[in-house]
């Protein structure tokens, strides 16, 4: 039977029996709708989760040990990094160093004087950590280490002291122009700013950082770091006696940045720790970010880590959330499949009834030249059309449902960190998968009735009264 004729006959049959069509399709529409709705929902939740917790990386720390108030924890040094790099399951190991003395950030932002504690809240990371992010990589450089110092300047002239107003500042100590210290922050910081700080201080919301910088200008991203200074009363007096300022500039957002705090090139933190806290602190890393070759090899790595260098992984909330989301995803998808599976049984039942009701018709088709295969294809084609239409309708229903949920979320749910504008991530492949599953389930449901129809003896079928 030519495909075109088959298609015409299948469509004609589908249209002429709307009751049968609706009864067969309704369960599939619900099941596929649930499938698309759940899948798009969990995909979004996963996306948000991964933006908060980079699950592909683990953070190695030294277990905290102290006796009589003295910190006896094992030190993370370059040797530790090199040792970790020898493990076959490790692709990359990059150190992270925390600023080990008090420091304060301050500057003007949108006409307001802002001050915030930086000491303990600032990490240094190697450039290679952000090398895969072109928006940041070009600017996340250690200008002092690269020798980009000069010309001489007069700090009294303020912003006009150096030729490159956007990227340089005039150091008050050596009276030379230095590149501003590039700073990145995590999406968490931006989210906290938008939901907590901006609201309460009447500051503007920041959507895309690049757009915000383009609109306001680079100079609005300037601030100063007061090394050795602090907002905490009664802090280390010895350190606070030593004090100097460096110019900084916020260059962008990165998931690689410290979750709450600032992140700058590692060289700055090493030098500042050496200058303000001593040589030991300049060689001591706060953690080591390890990227595994395969997530499944985490258990092997963790075991080695605990047994050999006696280190441990930072508790990863992300991993725990990830597991929860994974389980929820499986449960929701299983529910969807159960619904669609029941629908397939319903389709089988409906088609058995249909085939029985249409015995004479099938007999006529056989009498005028339909082969068993033709009859099989006609019935399966009808099932496939029901699947196709149900898949499209189910997907559309899920999409409409998502609009409703997003509207309710926007109108009724108060703002919170990482609250998404939409709770759904409708990737094209979800729709393709939904329609594919829908057709598959319907065809499976229609298979036995179709076989029954095809195997009917034409004479017996025609004898139906």
């Amino acid at each position: 039977m030519p495909a075109r004729n088959l298609w015409q006959m299948v469509l004609g049959n589908a249209v002429r029996s709307p009751r049968h069509f609706v009864f067969s399709a309704i369960g599939v529409v619900i099941g596929i709708g649930a499938f698309v709705f759940f899948l798009a929902g969990v995909l979004k939740v996963q996306g948000v989760l991964y933006s908060i917790f980079p699950l592909e990386e683990v953070e190695v720390i030294a277990p905290h040990t102290s006796i009589a108030g003295k910190n006896l924890s094992q030190k993370l040094t370059q040797e530790t990094v090199d040792l970790i790099k020898t493990r076959p399951e490790v692709r990359e190991a990059l150190p992270r160093m925390t600023l080990q003395f008090p420091a304060v950030g301050f500057g003007k932002f949108e006409g307001q004087d802002i001050r915030f504690e930086v000491g303990g809240f600032t990490d240094g990371i190697p450039h290679s950590v952000v090398a895969d992010d072109p928006k940041i990589a070009d600017r996340f450089l250690d200008g002092d280490a690269e020798g980009k110092i000069g010309p001489a300047c007069e700090p009294e002239r303020g912003k006009d002291a150096c030729p490159d107003r956007a990227w340089q500042y005039c150091d008050k100590v050596d009276r030379m122009c230095h590149m501003r210290v590039p700073v990145i922050v995590s999406p968490t910081v931006l989210e906290l700013y938008n939901t907590q700080v901006a609201e309460s201080h009447g500051l503007p919301h920041i959507g895309a950082m690049e757009q915000f910088i383009a609109e306001r200008g680079r100079e609005r991203m300037h601030f100063t770091i007061g090394l050795g200074d602090t907002m905490v009363a009664g802090s280390n007096v010895a350190v606070s006696a030593k004090h100097r300022e460096v110019g900084a500039i916020l260059i962008g957002i990165s998931r690689k940045a410290k979750r709450v705090g600032l992140t700058v090139p590692l060289g700055y933190v090493e030098r500042w720790n050496r200058e303000f806290a001593g040589e030991d602190k300049a060689k001591q890393f706060s953690s080591i970010i390890v990227t595994l070759r395969d997530k499944d090899r985490l258990a092997t790595f963790t075991t080695w880590l605990q047994e050999e260098p006696k280190l441990k992984l930072e508790d990863s909330l992300g991993e725990q959330f990830g597991t929860v989301v994974f389980v929820i995803t499986i449960v929701l998808l299983a529910i969807s499949f159960v619904i669609v599976g029941i629908s397939a049984i319903n389709i089988a039942h409906n088609f058995f009834m249909q085939v029985t009701e249409r015995r004479r018709e099938i007999g006529v088709l056989r009498a005028v030249g339909a082969s068993q295969r033709d009859v099989l294809m006609i019935v399966l084609g009808e099932a496939a059309v029901i699947g196709l239409v149900s898949g499209v309708l189910g997907s559309a229903a899920a999409f409409l449902g998502s609009l409703l949920v997003d509207w309710a979320s926007a109108a009724l749910v108060p703002a919170f960190p990482f609250k998404p504008r939409s709770w759904f991530d409708f990737e094209w492949w979800i729709f393709a998968l939904a329609v594919g599953f829908s057709v598959l389930f319907c065809v499976v449901g229609g298979w036995l009735p179709a076989r029954k129809a095809a195997q009917m003896e034409p004479a017996a079928a025609l004898a139906q009264t």
């Binding site: 006529v364 009498a367 005028v368 082969s371 034409p458 004479a459």
Partner: protein
């Protein structure tokens, strides 16, 4: 003039049911029908006429014996080949018309084309077939809008759509009034005489005997009167 037999049956047997409930419907039927023949198959209800017709048309399978139709030995003919044979060379007309109610008259008539690869001029040929049975203006009507006689004529047009060599009719006038039945009988006679189509008609209609070249009577699954295979040629149009 010797004509190639269109139907050759040898000791065809058929039964329904199993064990003690077995009913033997055909008990070794042998028959040979030359091309261009018009045979009336008569007998009481349950004598096996319709079963024999269905077996000849490939709508049912014989339990034993040989069936050879239009050169095809059914024992070695695959199911798709049999379907093609029904599609191209055999036409069926049933007592109950067996039109599909959701299709128009033209749709019913051209239904065989749905299963034929490369069918051409389908609509024109369908219209012509309808015109041939006097229903040229009824192409777009549904069967529910027609009288019994008109329905049967649409069914005949469908059977003739592919210009078959063999037309098998099961009580074609059984549901028609006398006048309409007469028209149908006349149409069959004309079809046989002018076009040389071989017809095998299961009937209770006495008038059919008047146009039939051979009348075969069946009783209890056997041919009891008329002809068995190998009987002499009864003549007919070439």
């Amino acid at each position: 003039m010797t004509r190639e037999p269109v139907i050759q049956l040898e000791q065809v047997r058929k039964s329904y049911g199993e064990g003690a409930g077995t009913t033997q419907v055909l008990r070794g039927v042998s028959l040979e029908v030359p091309r261009g023949e018009l045979i009336a198959l008569v007998g009481q209800s349950g004598s096996g006429k319709s079963t024999l017709l269905n077996i000849v048309g490939g709508l049912d399978k014989a339990d034993g014996g040989n069936v050879r139709v239009l050169g095809h030995d059914y024992r070695s003919t695959s199911e798709p080949e049999l379907a093609r044979l029904r599609n191209k060379k055999i036409g069926f007309v049933f007592q109950a018309f067996n039109l599909l109610d959701h299709l128009t008259c033209l749709g019913n008539v051209t239904l065989p084309a749905s299963f034929a690869a490369g069918a051409r001029d389908v609509v024109r040929r369908g219209q012509a077939a309808l015109g041939r049975v006097g229903l040229g203006d009824f192409a777009h009507r549904k069967p529910s809008e027609l009288s019994g006689g008109q329905k049967q004529r649409v069914a005949i047009a469908r059977a003739l759509f592919n210009e078959p060599e063999l037309l098998l009719c099961d009580e074609p006038t059984g549901n028609l009034d006398s006048a309409t039945g007469h028209e149908v009988i006349e149409f069959f006679r004309e079809l046989n005489e002018k076009d040389g189509v071989t017809l095998m008609i299961v009937t209770h209609e006495r008038r059919m005997s008047t146009i039939a070249r051979r009348v075969i009577t069946m009783r209890d699954g056997q041919i009891v009167e008329g002809d068995q295979a190998g009987d002499e040629d009864t003549g007919g149009p070439a």
